[in-house]
């Protein structure tokens, strides 16, 4: 049997880095083939080569045994290659059906597409309402729209880029069922991920990339997490040391916080109650877009509409205080968006320290520039940030290195309460372990820490207590050592004990997560 797709010696060089170095792989019809690697290992570049978005410098692509040159995504789709992107390529203001229609050729009508969406949705168990505008859909539903769009082109090869990063564990199972059905019907699947458990559960074959090279082609069903990890990063990540928490006073107390959404794309916060004590790490789990950004904005001071008395920092009401006041009281915040919130992209690292570190501002508001540069140089050294130096522009750093720098900037300020959103998003395994280690060290020194993350594994690793957010509401807390992934997964759908009916006032992200269960 000829293989569906064969890559031979694909090489792609960028000015500073070789993204793919002689990569070869082979995908059989009906095979679910994993491509495993860290951030920056070259997975994305390789997929772009297959999908025609990037031209390789060397190497050959065979499609059903025939050499082909894929010059753009349009040609890729004509061959029967479809891709579901990690960051969705949907148009928010259009309906699901319109979005799907745009991905098909011009011979169909919108009404016919709507029909076909309903048919495919039934066949593969992908619940999608074709007539709803995309901005009103949950992340899980958006992904289903993307998958339906890909399926309607009748692909022979479906590429999925980190598809589970936005799903509840139950929704992941549902996605896997869909993919298995598809593969059984003869469609080949390229599954890109860095999550070892998923690859072992789903995939028939696995190509591991490290630094742009293939470090192994294995059958993931016979491997262990440790053996896959060794191939992926060359070593097993260091285990974190955990001590029993020594609880201190309540650092952050949120009581009955209600906050109407700012616009229809937002989420209304309903009766949020949350305590974080000195010496503990509290994690907020939940699928993205369930009110976490809104809560973070209210706690960090970006949004000061919170009613008086609803947020207290070390006993003092700060509901309406500015971020600067909160920072002086010991609250430091690492936002999810690194460029644009955590750092100014075009300014140097040294200048970026001034966003939250103002010790080097002298009287009369004049800057002591040497002190600013020294601080940046110290942070770069201490937190092993790969950068040209204090003068490097923030946007010139890779996501992981910039995150280390921003985390370093806040950790080094010795905060009494550290609030972190997505601490290791897009950060490679080694650096992520460093960052988690630093968070735990800070906790052991007696600071209170609040972490928001979509990675359940991470929350289970570093937190002492977990709460879950769904549809703008917050679940009761649960001791992390007593919680299970299944339980938290169900809670992520908003179904915790004592949870009321879905709020009527927030018709945005709702009901989708129900459907996921």
């Amino acid at each position: 049997m000829t293989s569906r797709l064969t890559l031979k010696g694909i090489t792609k060089r960028y000015p500073a880095v070789i993204a793919n170095d002689g990569v070869s792989l082979e995908v059989a019809p009906g095979e679910i083939h994993a491509v495993l690697g860290e951030n920056g290992a070259g997975k994305s570049t390789l997929m772009k080569v297959i999908y025609g978005a990037v031209r390789p410098d060397e190497g050959e692509i065979l499609w059903n045994g025939q050499p082909v040159s894929v010059r753009n995504p349009h040609e890729a789709r004509a061959l029967g290659i479809a891709m579901v992107f990690q960051h969705f390529s949907l148009f928010d203001t259009l309906t699901a059906a319109e979005n799907v229609w745009l991905g098909l050729d011009t011979s169909t009508t919108l009404a016919a597409v709507t029909q076909r969406i309903r048919a495919v949705a039934g066949e593969y168990g992908l619940d999608v309402d074709p007539l709803r505008p995309v901005h009103s859909l949950s992340v899980g539903e958006r992904q289903r729209v993307e998958i339906v769009r890909a399926l309607l082109t009748k692909p022979q090869l479906l590429i999925l880029d980190e598809p589970t990063s936005v799903l509840t564990p139950q929704a992941v199972q549902k996605l896997f069922d869909t993919l298995r059905t598809l593969a059984a019907a003869g469609c080949s699947i390229l599954y890109i991920s860095h999550k070892l458990d998923e690859i072992r559960a789903l995939c028939h074959k696995c190509t591991v990339l490290r630094g742009g090279r293939v470090t192994g082609e294995v059958d993931p069903r016979t491997e262990t997490n440790a053996s896959l990890s060794r191939r992926m990063i060359g070593a097993e990540p260091a285990r974190l040391e955990r001590h029993q928490p020594t609880l201190g006073d309540v650092a952050l107390k949120v009581t009955g916080l209600r906050l109407p959404r700012l616009d229809q794309f937002g989420v209304t916060l309903e009766d949020i109650d949350l305590d974080v004590r000195a010496g503990e790490v509290v994690g907020i789990a939940g699928v993205s877009g369930n009110g976490q950004p809104e809560l973070m904005a209210a706690i960090s001071g970006e949004d000061t509409r919170a009613p008086a008395g609803s947020i207290a920092l070390f006993g003092a009401d700060i509901a309406a205080a500015s971020p600067g006041v909160r920072r002086r009281a010991g609250l430091h915040f690492v936002p999810e968006e690194r460029l644009g919130r955590g750092a100014v992209p075009t300014l140097s690292l040294a200048q970026n320290t001034l966003l939250t570190r103002t010790a080097s501002i002298g009287r009369l508001g004049l800057l002591r520039l040497s002190a600013v540069v020294q601080l940046a140089a110290y942070l770069i050294r201490k937190y092993r940030v790969k950068a040209k130096g204090p003068d490097a522009a923030a946007k010139s750093l890779s996501g992981g290195n910039l995150q280390k720098f921003i985390m370093g900037r806040e950790l080094d300020a010795n905060p009494r309460l550290l609030v972190v959103s997505q601490p290791t998003w897009g950060v490679d395994v080694g650096a992520a372990a460093d960052i988690r280690g630093e968070i735990l060290r800070l906790r052991d020194e007696g600071a209170a820490i609040l972490v928001v993350s979509e990675e359940l594994d991470e929350l289970f690793e570093i937190t002492d207590r977990l709460v879950v957010m769904a549809r703008g509401r917050m679940s009761p807390g649960v001791n992390t050592s007593l919680a299970t992934v299944e339980q938290v997964g169900i809670w992520m759908s908003g179904l915790w004990p004592g949870a009321g009916p879905p709020p009527v006032a927030a018709p945005t992200i709702e009901h989708a997560e129900h459907a996921d269960v």
Binding site: S89, T93, F265
Partner: protein, 306 residues
């Protein structure tokens, strides 16, 4: 009664240039590109149309010349902005400054010329109705074309696939590119169409509305058209409404000046601009509505494949 019919008729006449330009800019901006050169394009098109009208005596040729001039200037703008990635705002401003100077320069010879008054085109049957006829149905054909254009544009944007593609590109050129749409070519087409309609508007001003050539005669209508598209939240019907509101207040202030109202004429001249903006801002102040209708990529550069 008859006076009211005259005011309505002149309102439609005065609003038409603005409607044409603003509808053109609406197409332009729905693709995600802002062209601040509207004023300049309208001025150069006004003199081009006027000169052609004087030389050939043909209105149709004058309009073709105006539209072609606007389209050509928009083409230059589009190539610079879309392919060479120059800053949209700076390039548009340069185009406006250039158009102002260039039209004054080539227009010198024509400042003494005058075209004869254009007569309205009386629609059969409808034009003979009492009141309604003189008020609505004895206009220059371009007035009807502007209304038809707004209707057609509404249908195009919300009922046709090509319109859907245009809206999609304006919202996220990256996603449209990933789906395989020729983002740059479609954007250029939208920009050139917008330029052609601005040109048509300029020619209408000099050939039908005044009809003569005066330096700087567009008098900020290019800018108000740009503001109008924004405050009308990129919806054709609202654009048309805003344009006629502008025309109506323009006529009202002429009327007031004629009546000898004791208000400085400078204040009255300002009135149409202020009134149009205020009314549209009040109409479209819901942030949700703006967010749903605004082309999200408006004014942002797009680099395919990055």
């Amino acid at each position: 009664m008859n006076e009211l019919a005259v005011i309505i008729a002149s309102t439609l006449n005065a609003g038409t240039a603005l409607a044409l330009a603003a509808l053109g800019l609406l197409i332009n901006e729905r693709s995600g590109i802002v062209n601040l050169g509207a004023e300049g394009m309208m001025l150069v098109a006004a003199i081009a149309g006027f000169a052609t009208g004087v030389q050939t005596g043909s209105d149709s040729l004058a309009f073709v010349a105006g539209a072609a001039t606007g389209a050509f200037m928009a083409l230059c703008f589009g190539v610079m902005v879309i392919w060479l990635n120059t800053n949209q705002y700076a390039t548009g401003l340069a185009l406006s400054l250039f158009g102002t100077g260039f039209s004054a320069f080539v227009g010198v010879k024509y400042t003494q010329e005058k075209l004869s008054e254009r007569h309205g085109f009386k629609l059969p049957v409808l034009g003979d109705l009492p009141f309604v006829g003189p008020a609505f149905f004895r206009q220059h054909p371009m007035v009807y074309i502007a209304v038809a254009l707004a209707v057609a544009l509404g249908w195009f944007l919300y009922r046709s696939r090509r319109g859907l593609v245009l809206r999609a590109i304006g919202e996220s050129p990256e996603s449209a590119h990933a789906l395989g749409y020729p983002v740059r070519r479609i954007r250029l087409l939208a920009v050139v169409t917008g330029g052609a309609l601005c040109g048509l508007a300029g020619a209408y001003l000099s050939v039908v509305y005044t009809p003569l050539w005066v330096e700087g005669m567009v008098a900020g209508r290019g800018w108000i058209a740009l503001a109008l598209t924004t405050f009308a939240t990129w919806r054709p019907a609202r654009v048309l409404f805003g344009a006629y509101l502008f025309g109506g207040v323009t006529m009202l202030q002429f009327f007031l000046q004629g009546e000898g109202v004791q208000i400085a004429s400078q204040w009255l001249t300002m009135l149409p601009y202020v009134a149009t903006i205020v009314v549209l801002v009040l109409m479209s102040r819901k942030p949700e509505f703006i967010r749903i209708n605004m082309p999200a990529s408006l004014g942002k550069p797009f680099f395919p494949g990055s």
